[in-house]
Amino acid sequence: MAKHIVVAPREATLCTGCGSCEVVCALTHDGVVSPSYKRISVQLDRGDRMLHRIYTCQQCDDHPCYDACPKQGEAMCIDENGIVYVVSEECIGCGLCKQACPYEPARIHIARRIGSKKRVAVKCDMCRTRPEGPACVEHCQAVCLGVSGEPGPWEAALAEMAKAAEAMAAAQMEGAE
């Protein structure tokens, strides 16, 4: 499977429900904040559990969305790393890719283009042209998000946190003296 966004095990770190991943995703790609332009979704849990779920494209190897696209290679493309992405200018907004997505909820959605009545498919492209890599991973303050096949950012952060807590305790003692 091509690289895709993964979510940390709950034993390591818990999603805080901040929605920052949604926000930065849409801001990075389209300069707006909008449920139509986010490529990742936080589903807030019922109020008496608060264990939220994160949904985004799994970059399936058999790419049924790509297969369903009537403009393969133009509107829906696959890059050298196997990332399936949408070329918005070419997309006709037919919605066949969304219908073909095997996941529930579908990891592609069809949005109204900003300032127009036309529609366009929106899906995660792993921020493939962003030098820093996926924006959602970079901006998740709770380090809940990582990239498949790579060590999760929560692992290093857990070790750092333990060290910082020790330093804080020492500084507090010094201040109190």
């Binding site: 926000v23 109020g47 901006h139 709770a142």
Partner: protein, 698 residues
Amino acid sequence: MAEEKWYGYVGAIAKIDVGTGAVERLDTIDYAPEFMGGKMLCHKLFWDDVAAGVGAFDPENELIFTTGPITGTGIPSSGRSTMGGISPNSLPEMYSTGSCGGWIGAVLKFAGFDGFILKGRAAEPSYVLIDNGNIEILPAEDMWGLRIHDAQAWLKGRHGQDVQSLVIGPAGENLCRNASITTSGDNAFAKSGFGAVMGSKNLKGVAIKGDGVIIPADVEKVFELRQTVGHPHKDPNPITPREMIPSLMGFEQDFSGGYYQAAQTCSYGCTFRCNKLEMNHRSPFSEEPVNQVEKCFSNFAWGLDYDMDFTVAAYIHSPLSSFCDADALSYPAHMGEILDPNDPDLGYLWSGRKGSNVNYWDRNFARGCLMEHLCNEYGVDKFDMTCWLFTWISACQQEGLLDDLDFGMEPDVNDPAFIEHMMHILVYREGIGDLFAEGMARAIRTLGKEKYGDTIYRNYFNCDGEPRETPVSLEAGWGHPVHWQGRGLMGCPTWYSKTTSLVLTLNSRDCIGAGHPHPLTGDAQRYDDNDPAHTDELAALAAQTVRQSDIKDSVGSCEWVSPDTNNPAMEAEMFTAATGLPMTAEGMQEMARKSNLMFRAIQMRNFGRDRDLEVVQEFPIQQYPDSYGHTTSWEERNDLVSALYREQGYDVPTGWPTRSTWERHGLGEVADTMETLGKLPPEGRSEFTPGPNPFAHA
């Protein structure tokens, strides 16, 4: 802001008559940026629409929900929104506002509205559906009676997972004056009792769906602010087993049995996680254990034998002071990053005082969670319940005052069964619960304040073991309980509680709605000697606090992030990043002065506010000793209020702004209105000699 494209704002405000179903679209451009958004916009809409003589439960009262220009733009802390209207929980009923997190403000903007107004009264139980540009009033029979989380789930079941809502629980339906309106993440507008106003309109809630866009003018700046505002920290949020409440001074409180905790973020797109998730506790409504979101106050619900100890750091704004970060256990890594061991103020910042032995109830995590959980589920203000109702029952019980009152079972605040019973009879107005559904201030007056309010609770000792005179009822002012008054709960330095009380003098509810004072460290060190010569400085600090509160609540930022004393232009930068409009720190201050005055105009025209009414608020409780044994005299209280009025440009004998003050801030028309009402005092009266102290306790 280009004409055809809005930045920050989205362009419309919906005025919804829930009785007729009529919807009027107001153009945001007619109100903003002049009236900014959030709190200031609320003031403007209320001033224009609601006449004097309207009561909280009259159909003419309006519930006004507003977002700020930064709400939902991705700027840290920007998920907040404001609600305003006549508060049934204020005593007397009065205009009030509240601020709330959640996703609801952003989602309203996705639906194309910067705010909405609810007026009128529906004939049948109903809810409002805002679905992008469409607004409908729909029947709510099937939802009426549901508790908060079930009502939220009902709306998601009906309208899809993406729907966000504001709902009331049974407390709001039954017009309990302390009922809340709740949105996702247990975020609530609680203290003003707006849940009862919604109930009086026969409304169960407002459901909102939107898929539109919010466009910040300067995306790069938004990303910069995400890295800089409030020193955000990036580290894991593990589920942590706890056996004690953490403390800044090392006096941790142990909890046998322990509990599990993680952190939660309150509002959409924020970089912080100030709320804590209390995990795996019992609910009377579920077979499964439940989790709930709480802020700092739940510590008191868990155990109130001992009040918290405090450090000065908690009262100074700097990244050090983030109390709720500490509470949510996301503090340590954060501190390690920003503490400068060479900071000369470090010793002072960590100085403080041990809490008092207050002996209200034992430490019991499960019972405390139950107390909060019932508030969350019934939709009732947990501050009123925890800080006032249950401390009052405990103190009265220990003083033998409850013998003549029939609670339907033995009143025992240590017994979870009693907590459950008491909350039930209050929310459903059964037996004596009906009295407490009127709010504590009214209930105590009905029972007789001298006996049930002012009797001394004798099981209260300061940190040295000395008895500390404290009344059984922890009332502060305007119908609200103490909150950073230095009495009852939450000890604090004397200068701090005096300033908080002054802040409340200009407000109509407790201090979270008004803002916490945040002086610079050096100034606080000077105030610490409790020298009355600081009167003018404390008045200036209070005035600055009130302005700061209007800035953050009008822009759409949050109390835990704003202000940044290292960067007074923070909110101006946020505003410009969102809207593309130029703004300076001084421009923000000017906006806040005008916003303060509009609030005052409403209170004067509609509710008869003046010096006589204000000077006696929060004064009675100040006659009891604070954490350091200090009291405030009637003369000092009057001096402080006079200094505050001078600072604000008000006539000192009446507390009414003069014409030059109104006009200086572009409110000449308000001055004309006040003149018609006979409320335009002469210029230049800056002194006042008070009569004798009207209160029995001296």
